[in-house]
Symmetry: C2
Subunit: 409 residues, 2 copies
């Protein structure tokens, strides 16, 4: 693999698997100004506790320049995370908490620790593409399992796949605020999935980026609460505080802490970061609980605005999920609509962006041609209502013109 037209160094052959995704192109297109952005899973910037974070760090740096030095990852933060995990139904000790530069780094480190090149990993047919990227970089092949819009990952299909074999080296799962499906798994399904992992000896990587952002009753316990050996938990402050802090964590058996440390050290030096210090200072100020309550209330308002707008904007026969947590709802349009073409029409004609279902198809899975993911996290309720209405109008116009039917329908 040699960069085009270059006489310079060749890249390693595995890098042929590194591809710019169609999603990245769509994200670029939808980042233009004057577009109503229902595409990205961005947290609401007006909810960032920006001034408080700024004051915390300024006062910390006035009194303690050592906060800028190399040093072990903030131990007070590991203790806080262990306490926070109780709200997810998880009993763990600070010694089982490993701090990362966000959940994506946790995913990448675990993938590399669990996967030898050529091994197989498993995910749902529609899922977070960052997981695929992390696994591809670790040299994994991908197998898929279907999802159900009521209970999430299809446990009957999973059980059959495990029985048939060969079993994957790991399984990726999101029990709360599924990206892109907007599902939270029922309690019985969580229990059954955790038991299956143990019985079949397939470790689960539980991505709980949205688990703290639940909007109705108290959230159900995380998968990790049902099995401490076979479930690796990934958490993050990117959605509850701010992405640029790059602070997340892994909860894993203590035997994994030292290899995680060595691997992170080789990747970016395993040291306390300014982001960790800022999070620790903010948490120490006692403001995290109120802040989280404010986020839940605001995102619940936005979710409600979106669900009402979706019910109004789309034709009879449309199905969509009712998210209890997270940033997304998943809409399946009736008939055979090419949501990739709808995406371009909506962007050009109505200046609104979403992501078409096929952008989330795992490698080898059948793309969800007639589906789309809508994010309610970033826009205020009136912009959400406006934006969803525009997508509905685009669909109506395109249908009238026969312009968005899928080619193979």
């Amino acid at each position: 693999v040699t960069p085009e037209g270059a006489f310079g160094p060749a890249m390693a052959s595995w890098t042929a698997a590194l591809r710019r995704s169609a999603m990245e192109d769509m994200l670029d297109a939808s980042a233009l100004p004057d577009i109503i952005p229902l595409a990205l899973g961005l947290p609401a910037p007006e909810m960032f506790p920006a001034a408080a974070l700024g004051e915390s760090i300024a006062s910390r740096l006035r009194t303690d320049a050592r906060a800028l030095q190399y040093g072990p990852p903030a131990s007070e933060l590991r203790s806080f995370v262990a306490a926070l995990m109780r709200r997810r139904g998880v009993a763990c000790r600070p010694e089982q908490v490993f701090l990362t530069a966000g959940a994506q780094q946790g995913m990448s480190l675990l993938a590399r620790l669990l996967i030898d090149p050529g091994d197989t990993a498993m995910m749902e047919e529609h899922g977070y593409t960052g997981f695929q990227q992390a696994l591809a970089a670790a040299g994994a092949r991908m197998a898929t399992v279907p999802s159900r819009l009521d209970t999430g990952i299809d446990l009957d299909a999973l059980e059959r796949a495990f029985a048939r074999g060969p079993r994957p080296k790991l399984l990726y799962a999101m029990a709360d605020g599924h990206n892109p499906l907007g599902i939270s798994m029922p309690l019985g399904a969580r229990r059954r999935l955790a038991a299956l992992a143990r019985a079949c000896r397939v470790p689960i990587i539980e991505d709980d980026a949205y688990g703290m952002l639940s909007y109705d009753d108290e959230p159900l316990p995380a998968l990790r609460s049902f099995d401490e050996d076979w479930v690796f938990y990934l958490g993050s402050f990117s959605k509850t505080l701010a992405p640029a802090l790059r602070t997340g964590w892994i909860v894993a058996p203590e035997a994994f802490m030292s290899p995680l440390g060595s691997l992170k050290e080789s990747s970016d030096i395993n040291t306390a970061t300014l982001g960790q210090r800022v999070v620790a200072s903010f948490v120490a100020s006692g403001r995290f609980d109120d802040h989280l309550a404010g986020l839940r209330a605001e995102y619940a308002r936005r979710r409600d605005a979106m669900l009402i707008a979706v019910a109004r904007a789309f034709p009879a026969g449309t199905r969509w999920t009712q998210p209890r947590a997270g940033f997304f709802t998943w809409v399946e349009l009736p008939g055979a609509v090419d949501t990739g073409r709808l995406f371009h029409a909506a962007l050009e004609q109505e200046k609104v962006a979403f992501l078409p279902g096929p952008a989330f198809a795992a490698e080898g899975a059948t793309p969800a041609r007639s589906a789309l993911r809508l994010s309610f996290s970033y826009c205020r309720p009136d912009a959400i209502a406006d934006g969803v209405g525009r997508i509905g109008r685009t669909l109506e116009a395109a249908r009238a013109a026969g312009a968005v039917e899928t080619r193979d329908a």
Copy 2:
């Protein structure tokens, strides 16, 4: 590979190569209070512009909460880095600058882009162990080439190794403030090394973590100034601003930017970090130049204090390097002294820490038993003089007792 005593998930077989180093144990031992720390390459914390950094970020966050959002890496910082590179003799465009979470991440990303598992990388016999860690995690085997204390990497030996073949997939080099040897390569050697890389088609990873910290005349141009195709440059603000900001960069041909972006995205999401924003704000305030001048003056004082102390403390026949840049000097004791045993004796009897030469031996290389690395960056001049004196006393006492001769001497 199953974690000891666990019935849980097994780690991938490649992780057998992940080992806690003897260095880590020594670092733990030397981090005790009341120890004079001449072991670690830590920047001087009292030189951190902590209050100014804190004020920059607080004022930025008061006015622009979006500094906390997901977004592309700070473009103003890439422009500043391109300008900064001119001081290293390098003409490059912002489009050739890739921001990383410190130089270690740059090393890890480049290793993974250039290495397929089983490929060979090359480094000097005594070198930065973080490079070995990054390469081991990429699945590389290590080959070595000797160093000379006058000109750095032994170019005659390198030329012979390249001629003999097989050639490595990459070569690691530090032209300024070599860690651990404290050498800066002469101009002619730089030119010859860059020409050799091109002629033999072996890409160089130039680690220039210390290139901005030169103490005498103007620094010599970086290796990258002699070849823009075959030299990948790694820079960092960890030593010139602060480690916890986790901000560094790669200068690479433009064809590598997109693969670097995809690989970083899979590793930790390629987004602007708070650290990048803080560096950008500080730089925009116009204070970087004065700050750098202050660092150079202070580290030059510390270097001078150390060289005087070394000349006084050690016996006739001792050789040591005269660093023009960086944080370290390398001391070779006469006769056959086991500096590993000297390390423990100095720590216990005189409460002073350094690192023994063997801690830097590349895999397969002959350890430098009678050598030690001293760091002059962290302590004030009086503590440096005191600490070096104590090591000298420990050596004298141990020699008198016959306690530090090497076993095989």
